[in-house]
């Protein structure tokens, strides 16, 4: 037997082993990802008023009913929603403007600015929350809702800018030059050429903003006050104070809602595009 064929043989079983390991790893990952979801669903249907062993002896919708009857969920959800929507609105406008300015190449120090704008991504949320609390107190901003809005903008803006920059980078600068030489002023060129081409980036940024803002506990914990509590903070607080599986019910409802949103996005825009760089580039790749 020649050495060559021996090597080929060994390569073959090694490949098979590697392939098997990858599949096993995928399987384990999937189980660890899905198991908590399954547990949450089961727990949300638990009929017992205490945390017992799984599976529960009987099922009930009591925790779902409690979501709609309890007095703290409605207001805190409203607070969360207002804060998230303000963050989305500001990110979609100011974030887009920042991304356009940074990628234009005409702004001095744009690289430094880009780093600064993206730095909240690497600073731990607890640090941001605590730091914000101190700074805002110094500035005299003591209202919970104001603090929450500012805090959520700080933690979500990097995602919005990043998503927008990704779709801008793929764009040909000559397109805006073409618009200008054809007679469109800066604003008209932005409206008719840049904006349609980075739409996907803005939508992606908005989705990230919404998701992160609605989900945040670590930063919000420092910024809430008695009148303005976000839903995640309220849930955590209540679960500590008294045993309450409403959190599981809400988790399941959020899951269903998210799945619905993803489905809609996939049907209308294509989820790979939303996650990917931008409408124009992915269209080119697809064709």
């Amino acid at each position: 037997m020649s050495i060559g064929s021996n090597t080929v043989m060994r390569g073959a079983w090694q490949d098979r082993l590697a392939g098997g390991l990858i599949w096993a790893l995928l399987g384990v990952t999937l189980v660890f990802l899905l198991l908590p979801l399954v547990v949450a669903v089961v727990m949300s249907l638990d009929s017992r008023p205490f945390l017992g062993q799984l599976p529960p002896p009987s099922l009930s919708l009591q925790w779902y009913a409690k979501v709609f009857t309890s007095d703290y969920i409605g207001p805190s959800f409203a607070t969360s929603l207002v804060v998230a929507l303000v963050a989305v609105a500001l990110n979609a406008t100011a974030g887009t403007a920042a991304a356009v300015a940074i990628t234009s190449g005409r702004l001095p120090g744009s690289r430094l600015l880009a780093q600064l704008f993206l730095s909240p991504l690497v600073v731990p949320a607890v640090v941001i929350g605590f730091g914000l609390l101190l700074v805002l107190a110094r500035l005299g901003i003591t209202s919970g809702i104001g603090r929450l809005m500012l805090g959520h903008i700080v933690i979500t803006l990097p995602y919005a800018i990043r998503a927008c920059m990704a779709s801008l980078v793929g764009q040909d600068r000559r397109l805006t030059e073409a618009a200008a030489i054809l007679g469109a002023n800066e604003w008209q060129a932005f409206r008719s050429v840049t904006l349609p081409l980075i739409r996907t980036g803005i939508i992606t940024g908005a989705i990230f903003t919404l998701a992160i803002s609605l989900d945040d506990v670590a930063v919000s914990m420092f910024l809430v006050d008695r009148q303005n509590i976000t839903l995640p903070v309220a849930l955590v607080t209540h679960m500590r104070a008294a045993f309450d599986l409403t959190i599981a019910a809400i988790a399941v409802m959020a899951m269903v809602f998210t799945a619905f949103v993803v489905l809609i996005l996939d049907v209308t825009l294509g989820i790979d595009r939303v996650i990917g760089q931008g409408l124009y580039r992915s269209e080119k790749e697809n064709s």
């Binding site: 030059e177 200008a180 030489i181 469109a184 008209q188 269209e283």
Partner: protein, 358 residues
């Protein structure tokens, strides 16, 4: 009548690099000029200054007699065909063409009529609702041209208009483009690094290098009478013959060290010390095999060292008996006698030569 475009001693710096160094020229109405030069010679900067993407550091750019200083691109009536077309990918062909009209307050009915007219002009009828990515390169180029011309600009700028196309298509579109510019009476500036494109499209050629215009003139003049080595070599293949200019029995001649004499129209006047004759390969003809009979004025002898086939023409490399090497271009017809290593007789037409000092 005022010129459509006038460059008045324009200088433009990018950091430490001087892109344009006091460039001045003018373009008459209805004329097509070609800015020819290697990349980095400043030709694209000229185009960007006219478009208003850049502002001159010194000097003036006048369009139709008006100083363009401080005017934004959309305040000028200039059309621009981009090298890679820069079509709006999210718009149809018709929307692309109508774009400029939209922002110039053209009435709706007139926009539709103009789009139809432009589509006919670039022979893309029936493509109005396609998107740019559904078109071939040549079709995209035509849409870009239609878009640039739809607003009837005072001046049309074409940035390497054909360089993104393959060779065959480039030749077809070159003719088409020239006819279109003539038909519409458009004043145009073609920026290119391709001397064939410059000669076929430009009624006048401006050869550029390092931020300056070296020479300008009609294509034949620039091709046959280059005023410097760079222009001579940039315009096409060229031979440099060493020798001296003397007055022979029948008039002025150029004499090579090997004793060959080539009749020239006149002795170089301005370039007193001229010692080089610049000859295009097609100014030399291969007469036939050398039988060593005679040495007339205008003939040279040498050994055929190499032949290179370029389709319609064949380039012969001949080592003259005085050691100099020349390239001869001949129509690719008879190849039976072309034996490498054989002695050949050449006939030289010195009347198309240019002179250079050492």
């Amino acid at each position: 009548m005022t010129d459509t475009l006038e460059f008045d001693a324009v200088t433009k710096q990018f950091g430490a690099v001087t892109a344009l160094d006091g460039v001045g020229f003018s373009v008459k109405q209805g004329e097509t000029i070609a800015l020819l030069g290697p990349s980095g010679c400043g030709k694209t900067t000229i185009l960007r200054l006219i478009a208003g993407f850049e502002q001159p550091d010194a000097g003036r750019v006048l369009l139709g007699g008006r100083d363009m200083a401080g005017l934004r691109p959309y305040q000028r009536n200039v059309g621009l065909l981009f090298q890679h077309y820069a079509l709006f990918p999210h718009m149809t062909v018709a929307e692309n063409i109508a774009y400029g009209l939209r922002y110039r307050g053209t009435p709706k009915a007139e926009v539709a009529a103009r789009v139809t007219e432009m589509l006919r002009l670039v022979r893309l009828e029936g493509m109005a609702d396609r998107r740019p990515d559904q078109l071939s390169g040549g079709q995209q180029q035509r849409v870009a041209l239609a878009r640039a011309m739809a607003t009837r600009p005072e001046l049309l700028l074409l940035d390497e208009p054909l360089s993104a196309l393959d060779a065959r298509l480039r030749q077809d579109l070159r003719t088409e483009l020239r006819d279109l510019l003539a038909e519409t009476g458009t004043t145009a500036i073609v920026v290119t690094h391709d001397q064939e494109e410059a000669m076929s499209l430009g009624q006048r050629i401006f050869v550029m290098r390092a931020g300056r215009i070296l020479q300008q003139g009609i294509p034949d003049e620039v091709y046959w009478q280059p005023q410097d080595r760079f222009t001579a070599e940039f315009m096409g293949r060229v031979n440099w013959l060493d020798g001296s200019f003397v007055t022979g029995a029948a008039g002025p001649v150029f004499r090579t060290p090997g004793g060959w004499e080539i009749a020239v129209p006149a002795l170089p006047s301005g370039q007193a010390g001229a010692t080089e004759l610049c000859l295009r390969p097609e100014s030399i003809e291969m007469v036939g095999a050398d039988h060593g009979i005679r040495t007339d004025t205008g003939t040279m002898r040498g050994v055929l060292e190499q032949t290179t086939l370029l389709g319609p023409t064949r380039i012969l490399s001949v080592r003259l008996s005085d050691g100099q090497s020349v390239e001869v271009a001949m129509p690719n017809r008879s190849q039976a006698m072309l034996q490498v290593g054989s002695f050949v007789m050449l006939a030289v037409n010195g009347h198309n030569g240019a002179f250079f000092g050492a």
